[in-house]
Every structure is written in C-alpha cells, then in structure tokens.
Symmetry: C2
Subunit: 337 residues, 2 copies
Amino acid sequence: MTTIRELARRSGVSVATVSRVFNTPEVVSQHTRQRILDLAAEIGYLPNGSARTLATKKSNMVGLVWDTDHRRPGWRHPFLQEILVALKTALSAHGLNLLMLAGHDAAGPDDGQRYVRAVRQHNLDGAVIIDNGTRDPAVLALVEAQVPCVALDLRVDGPTSTYITSDNAGGAALAVRHLVERGHRRIATITGPLRTWPGAERLVGFRAALAGAGLPLADGHVVEGDFYLDGGHAAMDRLLALDDRPTAVFVAGDEMAVGAMRAAQAAGLRIRDDIAIVGFDDIEVAALIPPGLSTVAQNKPGFGTAAAEALVAMLHGGDDPPKPTVLPTTLVVRGTT
Amino acid sequence: MTTIRELARRSGVSVATVSRVFNTPEVVSQHTRQRILDLAAEIGYLPNGSARTLATKKSNMVGLVWDTDHRRPGWRHPFLQEILVALKTALSAHGLNLLMLAGHDAAGPDDGQRYVRAVRQHNLDGAVIIDNGTRDPAVLALVEAQVPCVALDLRVDGPTSTYITSDNAGGAALAVRHLVERGHRRIATITGPLRTWPGAERLVGFRAALAGAGLPLADGHVVEGDFYLDGGHAAMDRLLALDDRPTAVFVAGDEMAVGAMRAAQAAGLRIRDDIAIVGFDDIEVAALIPPGLSTVAQNKPGFGTAAAEALVAMLHGGDDPPKPTVLPTTLVVRGTT
DNA sequence: CGGTTACCTGAAACCGGTTACATTGTCGGC
DNA sequence: GCCGACAATGTAACCGGTTTCAGGTAACCG
C-alpha cells in the first residue's frame, strides 16, 4: 500500500502539498502538481478512503435502504433493477457510492435506530429510501435524525429530506379517460394498499377523473388490494360477483392486474370485450402476457436519476431541500382495452 | 459524535480498555466490561467505522460488481432481486455490508482496473461478481489482484476466488428427459450465448442427455440465441423453417422461451401439441404467461446465500478457497409440455 | 517469604489522510 | 532600499480508533 507520505518523500515535497494536489489543485503550482500527478500514476498511489473519511467526516457514500416486506417474504419491487441501474450510474457520476444497508434481518438490537446507527457508523453522507409499504419506524428515524434523505414513493418531508414519486393521480386519470373514450361508463378500481402513498393517490386520481367525466361510482366498485397477484385475483372475484358488474376496471398495479385478468378468464369472460382492464407500472409481464396489458407506465429510470440528483443537490447545495419530484406517467395501450 | 476517548474518560478507564471491550471482550474483567457497555449504551457510543478500518485494514464491506451489458442497455438479470435479498441477508448476518461498485459508466479513467481501484480505495474485504456475459477485463483484474472473490455464473478460479453456478448441464438433462418421456424424438435447442458459462453448459447437458436417450441431433437443431426475447423469437423462426422441424425445443432461458412461444403462435402452431417448449430459469413470467411455461427452475436465493457463505469462508477461513458451489435445479412442469 | 504466573489495565505509537497556521520567497510600489 | 501583498510550500496537530508492550496486582507454589 503506497501512502501519501511515500509519495511525498519520492516527489520531494511535504504531505500537505500532495494532499492539496488531490483536494485543492488550484493552490499548488502547475509545475509541482504535474510532477506529483505523474509520480502518483507511476507508483499507483490512491488516497485511502477511510483515512480521508476519518479526517473530513465525509465518506462519499450514501446508504440504500431497501427492505423487503417481512410480512411478505416474497415481496419484490416491481422495477428495482431499473432504479438501481439509474441510481448507481447517476450517483457515481458525482463520485458517490451506494452502500446497501442491512435491514430487519441484521444482527444487533432493533430499537428502530438501525439505519441511523449504520449511517453514523459509516459516516454516510445521505440515504436513498425505497419504500416497501411497511412504514418502518427505522426509516422515519432517519429523516428525524436529520440525515439527508430522499425517499421513493414515500412521502417524507423535513429540513433534510424530500421524495420522488410518479404522478399517481394523473396516471390514474389517464387510465380512466382512456376507458371513458372506449365507451365505458361503469368503471371500478382495484386499489393498492391505501396506507401506501401510491395506493392512496391512485385512488384519489381515479375518483377525480370519474367525477370529471360525470360518471358515478357505484357501491362496491372500489376494492382495496395489496399489489400482489393473488390479491388482484381475489379483488376481481369480488367485483365480478356484483349485480352491477363493471365493464372496466382500473387496477392500480400490474401484478394485481395480471391476477385480475386470470380471475376474469376463470369466470369465462372475454377480456376487453366483456371486461376491460388497465394496469399501472408497465412491468415486463405487461407486454408479454397475451393479449398485452394496457397500463400506465412509470418512468422507472427516472426514479433513480431523480433521487440521485435530489440527493446531490442537498449535499452540495446546502440550502433548503429540493422540492419533491413528480415524474410524469404515460399511457400504454395494449390488448386489454 | 461521541468518541472512544470520551467514553473512556467518563468510565474512568483508558481508551485501550474500551477498545478491548468491543474487540476482545474476554480479556477485560466482567465488571469493567459491563460498566463500559452500560455507559456506551447510555450515551449512544458507536465505534467509528472509518477509524476502525484505517487501523485494521478491514472494512467489513464487500463490493458488489454488477454491470449491465453496455451493448444492451436494457439488459436485466433474470433474478437479480432475489439474489440481492439473499446476499444482503446472509452477509449482514456475518456483519458484512455490501458496497455497490460503480461500473463502466463511472467517472475516471478506465484502464481495466476500476474495480481493483475501488476495492483498494475502500479497503474492501472482498467482492461478489454477478456476471453479465461481457467478460469484462476489469472483473478478471479483480481475481488477478488476489482480491477474495466469488462470482456468480462466471467460472473463475485462483487462490482467492471461487464461483457459484447452477447445475446447468443437469438442468438441461432434466428438460430433455422430460421431453423424451412425453414421447418427443426430434428435439432441438435454442442456446444462450456460448461464450457464457451457463450458455455453454446447458448445451453440453442437452447434447449428453440426447445421446443418453439414444436420440439423434439433426442438423440445424442447435441455434445459438442471446438470452433475450427477440433472440428467442428469431431462433424459433429458424427452427420452424426447417424441413425436419422439431416437435420439441429446449430453450436455455425463459425470456427467450417466451419469444419462442410467440414465434410458434405467430406461425399458427399450437404450443405443446404441435411444438413443446421447456425453458430455463423459472422467472416470474413463466408462471404467468398462458398456458404456463414448463421450465428448469434455478435456486435463486441459493446464489445469494452460497455466495455469502463462500466469501465468509474465504475471509475467516483463511485457507484454500472453497470449492465452487453447484446449485441443483428442478423441473417445473406447466402447460407448454 | 521470594518468585512465578495469570490476569487486567494503561501509555503511546500507529493507521493515512486533512488543514490551520507559520514560513519562505518574489515582486511591485513608494 | 524597505515594506506589504501574495503565492507556494512546510510543520504539526488532529480525526477516532487498534495494538504492542510494559506495569501492577493478586494468587499460587515451593
């Protein structure tokens, strides 16, 4: 391991000068700077991150808080991978690294401070939170502890935190208007869990759009789902059992929508002709499953890049936290409508 | 930030003793140990990770090397999320954290040493490599630099590295035997890229099983695919254009298999009756897409836990690197066979 | 009772950087 | 020729831990 003192000795300057070459290059003369840089490259010198962090209290690392739903071990984020790619890319463009924080599975006591502890212990500069809908107190502790945070699909605010979300209400409205254009007048919805932000907002948008179109919302035409396949199936079963069965359903999540499609088929209905379905998310299956699920697409990489940018703004900007970002949604029409 | 000196002062002992309480508790007397622990909990003392790393050169962090295929920006690992969950859980049970390493998109020069640099800079204890099929020199540089490594689906070896993979050949054989049992005698295959380990091995297993069953392999009945949807579609088109069209196809990846199903349907064939299909992976869509894709399932969380265990064994064990892990595969029969 | 021995604790060097402050040298202006 | 300003560099304290080595105490033994 070649150290800064070694490099200083070899290039005949003090360690301070070497340090300055890497931190405030403009204050060291062009000539020495170049000499030191050349020598550094030659002997493969790399500043030691831990030493640097120790001295500056900045680690250039941000934590990634992403737990699975422990009540549902099989829970998967619909597009975690896309978010991760974008997030990682955008962060590393600013010299930031991502440290995955251990969740409720971690060793040690769980007093609801585990993330805060991890942040302090590793001198993390901030955190990105991917919501899993469990309202984990340990997550909220982060924003309370004034750690610079940006949350995805979780509405947090505070002097050091902001969030990124899709235009859930707007997306729901897109879906409704599309169904109305297709001639539907009895439109129902299967919602996400209403305690989650997207779940609640999509219902708000649904209601508003229905009202805007002058359409009534019949009793029992709002069924709360859970974002899972089986939940969607069960919810659709309930809708189909109604006397005034809807002719179209806005399902607030693609996975549930697939479940709903199955329920409809199991009931012997033709999808689209007997019952139209619009989903939300635009996950991979939506395009693959026949006849193609019409759905409201989210800007998946947008979550990652927006989160990175918001975080960087907080870290470098220093002033007020950035406003929440609302990503536009788009309608993708396929075979179910 | 409360430091070790602060805690030492308050509890009336030296910093050395406090340090020992957290590192070698058995050497400090029961009495003082408890007193220090109590006080530590009371004032919320946490050892500073950077200082610790600086002193010990062990960070308790391992790097995650996972790049997307830059020739295919949309590339997604078929079950990254499951791997990540298991990996993170298993690692954190051993007190290890996961640092996502920036990829080819990172700032700075790319001399094929970017991962090695990152490892050195952050004093990482090891790395987990998720192969993306690009044979990135920067990845191989890691194992050459003697960084403790465990790779997924990438066959690396060296004094400090090992790998985890599924029983690809065995899985392919499962698929073939199943098709033979169903009465098929003209069986073709759509392979993955043959430069990848799983791609190559599945073909090996396919050939062996065919031979084992005494069946011939007709000309043109091996088509190299790319693991992608469109590639599967195109490959199937070629198979269907043959004079001696196969009655069954082993498709070495579920995404390709879906593409192949579409091609078959587009050609007006009934899947299963006119042409049977077995995939590989058992991704989510396999169960969702009608009539259900028969496929060879991989033990997805197994990759994560096995990787964590292998890495821990290398870090703590100290001796020879563990033998490669080969995860068993299982056949899942659905509607396509 | 002197000498080991085992056990517990403390002093201080060290890990590899950053940075406040001091120092040196140059140059322009009066 | 002297002084102040400024640019470039050096000195040394500091960040918060770990660990070697040595010292002190008590028990144990012959």
